[in-house]
Subunit: 493 residues, 2 copies
């Protein structure tokens, strides 16, 4: 209890990134603050990471491993690797660490004896939920429910969230088609994967979109071929996503024209698939296409997409797995759109720590066990989210992210002027930024050079660098990164 | 440290189900032993559970909720609900609590400061794994790797595990077909969900099988129509699963005939789908069809199925999500089959706490990012599994489960003789048992009566009761259950 009081006290002191000794009783990092700058001891991966990678490679494919992390030595925006290299992290475990490493508010959750039984007894949430789940969800997820959506279902990860969102959309669409629940014939034929019980319905997705890698999601993912090749897919409609020119406010007329072209294709696809007897039950879209290359579209595009969905009786599924939880400077990226009617479904995961989806009352399943699995999420992740959301509120992290984003984007814009042969299309909302690099090889080289100077980053699309820092990333951190990036660019041949 | 020594000491004392005071410093249950018997205060759900259910119902469909659990008051085989009812648990959160509630070995994991950073910093395992992951996997998953399988990939849940197992099988099959990696044409066409990049391959599954509820898995699930109806499905082959007569050793000739009939159908389906240009890349099967009604088949059936898979170049995927981790009295249920060549893939989740799959070296993907997602499992679950496996070894829980299973199955067999108008087909391996009830309504009534006398159970298939206790369920617990079940059956009209 004493510890909790201390931790709360620390949280109230602005910028006090400090650990109580009790948090790491056996750790030499006790009482340390966040590190001041990157500090590199080896190239990355260093010898210890390389040795571990060889060991891991004996039991699974591990070529994608960048390095091994020493999480207990990591702090805030700084990730420390197995070789003691300390790097500023603008990737944050693929955009999934909301408050940086070892945040005291999360440590407090782990140290509270009241939470012990949640961590050691994972419930089957759909049939035997814990006493405190309603309160937990009410004080976490419901506080950030997108306007107009009052229903929420937790899930374990982003792909599960999208798969189940699709299912909820299919149930809703078929009930609407039939004017009621499934018939005996529907039930019987579904057991054999045959019509009408296994209906020929589709989800419309966009070129460049990413929605996960399970078979349903993967049919809607079109970011990189290596994610998709050799996996059977549903023949579902795919529409072009706008290729806009940046900065968006300099090319409004041209971009509006491109967006209209894409929306016409959306409508054509909906009509074509309807004629083919495979109606579009839902449209799935990311507010910013993240894996596909940080492709933006205007609020007007999304408002018109919402209109098309309504016109054709399709549900609009807004996939906020990567954009959600504040990185754009608003809690949900779709808040920038000023929609008259909200998306029908909003899916989330990553920084939210728990997966899941919000949905309109109309999309609530009409029977038990239709949206169901053993665990249906994990209350330990909701506990952690509860703390994350409190810190976001108390520390005004959305505002901080907006401020840091201004510095980051302005810096990227200046660097692209300075290195116009290398960089273009600096773009972003909040700290959810990206910049396009001349070619793929140069992009890879820049990422490697940044890593070896103590910046963890990754690419997206064919040749963009994306920025996905935590919500505790400040103007100061942006400046540290920009200074290093400048030096990397200066050395780039 | 003192605590760890105490806990280890306790673990070494047989049947010492005791909590150190430090484990629950603020809990009135400190120092308590496992409860002795069920103790009921209300009917279930009681007034507190009912009130919570009304609240939950405002934010999601909650008709399937049985009652709300007070996990901190639960102990070992006893689950306590919101109204203070204490029930012996033979369902264990749909077969996913390996060591009962609040096991000291799991509490110890949470209390060890060395583990703190694992719980508060979830890594993107595929690119930035933690320092200790190789050791953790080596000392947990690899120790229980099925014979012949040396590769393992963690995943978040059972459905993800099966989806990714299917993908690994598709990659392997296509590389085999082509004699090498994907062509440019494969890559290009896959982005549009078109052949040849999105190939027309299939997974053969069985009537009555259950493999999860995401779209790929659901195409292989055929246990209950309500799980499937209204969701688009792949047109993949479905073979009959043997309908055997029990006890198996009394009907060997008849059952062998039925198994041959099913295996002929398997081969016919493989050939038919090959002719239709949709070859069978893999066959997915549960060692005991669990959700579908605890349907057993003989080791000979599985050996011949293995042979058919090999003959036709299909991978055999053994779904041990529900059967794995000891409930059958062996760690993996397929160990009972004495296969010459192991299954190509074995998937797991539930009691294993982490999802994932073991696979043969040949099924290792040929490139990075083919089996990939943000989290690829959760090291906190591997940490907990590490402790679970240690307790299974140290406490000889497989042997204990075999002993308890003998008492349970013998008791069920006696009750079905005594109440032959109500029960039949008592069957099982280890404590993974079931009994068939006269009709669905009677089955539901028996389950309700058991619940109100302090036994948590659930049905499977159309009218079976399944038993899924934890691995700490002993002969004594079996006798407590049998006594109550006898009284319920005696009162059944």
């Amino acid at each position: 209890m004493a510890l909790r009081i201390i931790s709360r006290h620390l949280l109230q002191k602005p910028a006090a990134w400090r650990y109580s000794t009790a948090a790491f009783p056996s750790s030499p990092q006790a009482k340390c603050q966040e590190y001041e700058r990157p500090l590199m001891k080896t190239t990355v991966p260093g010898p210890k990471s390389q040795a571990l990678k060889r060991e891991l490679s004996a039991i699974q494919h591990s070529d994608a491993v960048k390095f091994f992390c020493d999480f207990s030595a990591s702090r805030g925006n700084y990730l420390v690797d197995a070789d003691g290299n300390r790097m500023i992290d603008l990737l944050t475990q693929i955009s999934s660490i909301p408050l940086g490493y070892n945040h005291p508010a999360l440590i407090e959750i782990l140290q509270d004896p009241e939470n012990m039984s949640t961590f050691v007894n994972r419930p089957a949430l759909g049939i035997l939920p814990p006493l405190d789940i309603v309160r937990l969800i009410s004080e976490s997820l419901l506080l950030v429910a997108p306007r107009g959506l009052r229903q929420v279902q937790t899930m374990a990860c982003g792909a599960c969230s999208n798969e189940n969102a699709f299912k909820a959309v299919f149930f809703w669409y078929r009930n609407k088609q039939r004017g009621g629940s499934a018939s005996h014939e529907d039930l019987e034929s579904s057991m054999l994967n045959q019509m009408p019980g296994s209906p020929d319905l589709s989800i419309l997705s966009f070129n460049g979109g990413f929605h996960g890698r399970t078979l349903g999601c993967l049919s809607c993912t079109h970011s990189k071929a290596i994610h998709k090749v050799d996996v059977p897919a549903f023949d579902w409609p795919i529409a072009p996503f706008p290729h806009l020119r940046y900065p968006l406010d300099e090319f409004t007329a041209e971009n509006a024209h491109e967006e209209s072209r894409c929306l016409e294709q959306v409508e054509e696809q909906i009509e074509a698939y309807s004629r083919r007897g495979r109606p579009v039950a839902g449209i799935v879209v990311e507010p910013i296409q993240a894996e596909g290359g940080d492709n933006h579209a205007s609020p007007d595009f999304f408002r018109r997409l919402r209109g098309l969905a309504t016109k054709h009786g399709c549900a609009l599924i807004c996939d906020e797995v990567q954009t959600g939880c504040g990185a754009t400077g608003r809690f949900w990226a779709h808040e920038y759109w000023n929609l008259d009617s909200p998306p029908d479904v909003v899916t989330f995961s990553k920084k939210m720590l728990t997966g899941g989806f919000f949905f309109k009352d109309e999309l609530r399943p009409d029977a038990s066990y239709r949206i169901f699995n053993t665990w249906m999420g994990d209350p330990t992740k909701v506990l952690l989210l509860h703390a994350v959301l409190r810190v976001i509120r108390e520390k005004h992290l959305l505002e901080g992210t907006q401020r840091a984003g201004v510095v980051l984007l302005r810096g990227l814009t200046q660097l692209q002027e300075q290195y116009s042969n290398l960089l273009s299309e600096a773009r972003g909302q909040g700290t959810f930024c990206a910049v396009t690099v001349r070619d793929q090889k140069t992009c890879d080289n820049l990422l490697t050079s940044c890593l070896n100077k103590g910046v963890v980053l990754s690419g997206c699309g064919e040749r963009s660098i994306r920025f996905r820092p935590a919500l505790i990333f400040t103007e100061q951190h942006a400046n540290i990164f920009l200074e290093i990036f400048d030096s990397v660019l200066a050395e780039c041949k």
